[in-house]
């Protein structure tokens, strides 16, 4: 074990952890904004109740996303300083723009929304949640543009004197074809999580308490959440398909590693299940669908998909001796888990819609249980998607330009990285327990009672009136 390994583990752990909260922030901010808009338009109290209820869950999650996000920005400089030196000219810009354009918007307006219920005119208060939601979604774009440069570097040159990457075309960086498709794919994945959360919480209340005054609210949330889940699942699939074709062009090794395809095939079959030998050089058992991989990778059922061994030989000739192959079992299985978990959530959403057809109220305990695990499925799919795309890029930190091992901080010792990795892991694990317990507590509490608080009555004059919300 050396500092490089620990730095990599820390990046993996802190990033996957951060991205457990990000999808809900991205997706739920918009869904809560939609719920509040419906209340604003119709005046129907059930939408207000849902806004406040899901808004609370959203905020419990939001706090974690914010604080774990700061670590991400600092981590490049702390653990990956040589990487930062190499790409700073290009990579820093989207990060800075994200903070200035998106993160200020999100953080400022979320404060206005949380505390502004009684201090802002209704319209402005509604606009605040939309501004925060737009900020969240915009920030995803800039971060993904930065990440896409690592997958498919564009709009740069290498300065022969300094050996560093320099920006030559910023528009090319922002319109990187990998970014253009990864953004909708990631956003769709985020809405898959948010829609599932809506369904899970609503189903729990529906099945347990069939005839409460709030049943119509939960019914609406379950149906709305299911539709969001289904539409997102379709969007995830379509964008994922396009992404696969782009990946086959720009990172053929990643596609081959996703499939465990060792030799170049035309036409190539899609592996449903392949078990390889332990050294990963040949397959022992395989269940395959002919032509499917060719179609997925190239759009042509007879198209050529390059294999790992051929690409390895080609890269060794191009970049010098060494291994250019990611860890195949990791890429192979994370790719499948990503797709499998995501589609499982969509299947449950279909069942939930079916259970409510023609005004029925769902009663099945089995469906309740399925509904409860539902948000965990797309959450896992999101994590595996990131593990796949980042591990599939290895051994590169910037594909074709810099190896991961060359990006690590030279001045940081093993002890230092171990200290920070241990500290983050412990604090993140503790906070995860606290956060999940709070989420469950507030999810179980159900939609709020909107009868006015006796504290806030006409006996107080305006200056003495308690705040509608306070920490």
């Amino acid at each position: 074990m050396d500092a490089l390994d620990v730095a990599r583990w820390q990046f993996g752990v802190t990033t996957v952890y951060h991205f457990l909260f990000v999808p809900l922030t991205i997706g739920l901010s918009v869904l809560v904004a939609i719920l509040q808009t419906m209340w604003h338009r119709t005046g129907d109290e059930k939408y207000l109740k849902l806004t406040k209820f899901y808004g609370k869950l959203f905020l419990i999650n939001f706090a974690m996303g914010v604080v774990t996000g700061i670590v991400q920005e600092f981590q490049f400089g702390m653990n990956w300083s040589d990487y930062s030196r190499f790409v700073g000219d290009i990579f820093g810009a989207p990060l800075a723009i994200e903070a200035l354009v998106a993160f200020f918007l999100e953080s400022t307006f979320i404060g206005l929304w949380i505390f502004g219920w009684d201090r802002l005119p209704r319209r402005l208060h509604l606009a605040s949640i939309w501004a925060a939601a737009i900020g969240s979604n915009l920030s995803a774009y800039f971060i993904l543009a930065a990440n896409s440069f690592m997958q498919n570097p564009v709009g740069y040159r290498i300065n022969p004197d300094t050996g560093r990457a320099e920006l030559t075309d910023f528009v090319a960086v922002l319109t990187n074809k990998v970014a253009m498709i990864t953004f909708p794919h990631t956003i769709a994945g985020a809405f898959l999580v948010a829609g599932s959360l809506l369904v899970a919480v609503a189903m729990w209340h529906l099945v347990r308490n069939r005839d409460s005054a709030d049943t119509p609210a939960y019914r609406f949330a379950a149906t709305f959440g299911s539709w969001v889940t289904l539409v997102s699942a379709a969007a995830v699939a379509i964008t994922g398909d396009i992404q696969g074709k782009i990946m086959t062009q720009v990172q053929p090794m990643k596609m081959a590693a996703a499939e465990g395809l060792y030799t170049t095939e035309s036409p190539a079959s899609f592996s449903v299940l392949t078990i390889g030998s332990l050294d990963g050089s040949r397959e022992l058992f395989a269940l395959k669908i002919p032509h499917l991989l060719s179609w997925l990778g190239t759009g042509d059922p007879d198209g050529t998909v390059q294999g790992i061994n051929d690409l390895q030989a080609q890269y060794a000739a191009q970049y010098g001796a060494g291994s250019y192959t990611p860890i195949i079992p990791v890429t192979y299985w994370s790719f499948r888990f990503m797709i499998g978990f995501g589609m499982a959530a969509a299947a449950i959403a279909l069942l939930v819609l079916w259970s409510q057809r023609k005004g029925r109220t769902p009663t099945s305990r089995w469906l309740l249980r399925a509904g409860l695990v539902m948000p965990l499925l797309p959450l896992a799919a999101n994590s595996f998607g990131w593990i796949f795309t980042e591990m599939g890029r290895q051994p590169w930190i910037v594909f074709g330009e810099m190896l991961t091992r060359d990006g690590v901080s030279r001045s940081v010792s093993l002890t230092e990285v171990l200290t920070s990795f241990t500290a983050f892991t412990l604090i993140y694990a503790t906070l995860a327990v606290v956060e999940v317990k709070l989420l469950l507590r507030y999810a179980k509490a159900g939609v709020p009672d909107l009868t006015p608080d006796p504290d806030i009555d006409d006996t107080h004059d305006d200056a003495e009136r308690p705040l509608a919300f306070a920490y």
Binding site: G77, G92, F115, S411, I427, L467
Partner: protein, 332 residues
């Protein structure tokens, strides 16, 4: 003006904004156990910054991003070199941010006490460590010819840097007390106002010592002017605090923090991270900078968006301008 100079100024402005805004957030957090005698009073204190602390923290994220984009070498060397202090700052900011949001989510006293501790520790650590970090930036650190940090943790804990940490901590305490006096009513306001004066005397003494020491390490005309201005502003703020002119007192401490940060950056320029070893290791606004193309794009983005951000953040403070007291704290 050179683009690199503009970006040096912009990074300075971003850190100035950060320390003015999060300075009083840290102060409020550190004063939580001192000024908040029961749960309702502590909630009053937390709610003075409740709607704004998150937006204030984005100044840091933007400053970090701006450093990365405009001066990648500075960002890379500084963040890898100041590893453990930054780690502590990160951990502090994590528990503090979560604490604000989670503290009121359960009624148990033990639950609240734990988050109160998190807010206190999460405010003290950065308030001290930012001072230590910036003092070291000014003093210079051991960098080799490749601009790599070759010192250890103890190199960062020198007397000058520790004085810097004590200075920022007491300045933020004063700034926070003044802010609380400005934003509350009742007993909390009285106590905060009285405490602000006492803290302010300590802050003024430390700040004068620290800035004087700073100017003996490196200096420029502008730095001297700023340092004198910082001292005058702080004294003015204190005088205002004594007679309970809270708005003026807050203006005084805010200007004092701004000018103290300006002193450091003015003394530092054109260096961004001097080396105490090889002169070739010194990072300057020129040799640490990105290409002119990147800086030009970033300048346009900053020119367009900074005024917008300032406008809506300023508006937030206007929306939440009312003072609060225990009567305003809802039971839940």
């Amino acid at each position: 003006m050179e683009l690199t100079t503009i970006w040096f100024l912009l990074v300075a402005v971003l850190f100035t904004g950060y320390f003015i805004l999060e300075g009083f957030d840290f102060g409020v957090g550190m004063l939580l156990p001192v000024l908040g005698r029961d749960d309702r009073e502590r909630r009053v204190l937390i709610n003075t910054i409740g709607p704004v602390w998150d937006g204030n923290e984005v100044w840091l994220i933007t400053a970090g991003g701006a450093m990365f984009a405009a001066f990648p070498e500075w960002y890379a060397t500084l963040f890898s070199g100041f590893y453990l202090p930054l780690l502590l700052i990160l951990l502090a900011l994590i528990i503090r941010g979560v604490a604000f949001e989670y503290r009121h989510k359960r009624p148990e006293a033990s639950w609240k006490r734990r988050w109160d501790t998190a807010i206190f520790v999460g405010s003290v650590l950065p308030a001290v460590l930012w001072g230590v970090a910036f003092a070291n930036i000014l003093r210079g650190v051991p960098l080799d010819a490749d601009h790599e940090y070759v010192g250890g943790l103890l190199d960062l804990l020198n007397p000058y840097a520790l004085l810097g940490g004590a200075t920022t901590a007491t300045l933020f305490l004063t700034h926070g007390a003044v802010f609380i006096a400005l934003k509350t009513v009742g007993e909390v306001r009285e106590r905060a106002g009285a405490l602000a004066v006492r803290l302010g005397v300590a802050a003024a003494a430390l700040a004068v010592a620290f800035l004087t020491w700073t100017l003996t390490i490196r200096s420029s005309t502008a730095a001297v002017v700023f340092a004198v201005g910082a001292a005058l502003a702080l004294l003015g703020g204190l005088a205002a605090a004594r007679v309970r002119r809270e708005g003026w007192a807050f203006t005084g401490t805010a200007v004092a923090i701004a000018l103290a940060v300006a002193t450091l950056f003015a003394a530092l320029f054109p260096n961004v991270l001097p080396s105490t070893l090889d002169a070739a290791g010194t990072l300057t606004a020129t040799n640490a900078a990105s290409t002119p193309y990147t800086l030009k794009i970033m300048t346009w983005v900053a020119v367009v968006f900074t005024p917008i951000v300032l406008a809506y953040q300023g508006w937030t403070y206007w929306v939440f301008r009312k003072r609060i007291g225990v009567a305003h704290i809802p039971r839940h």
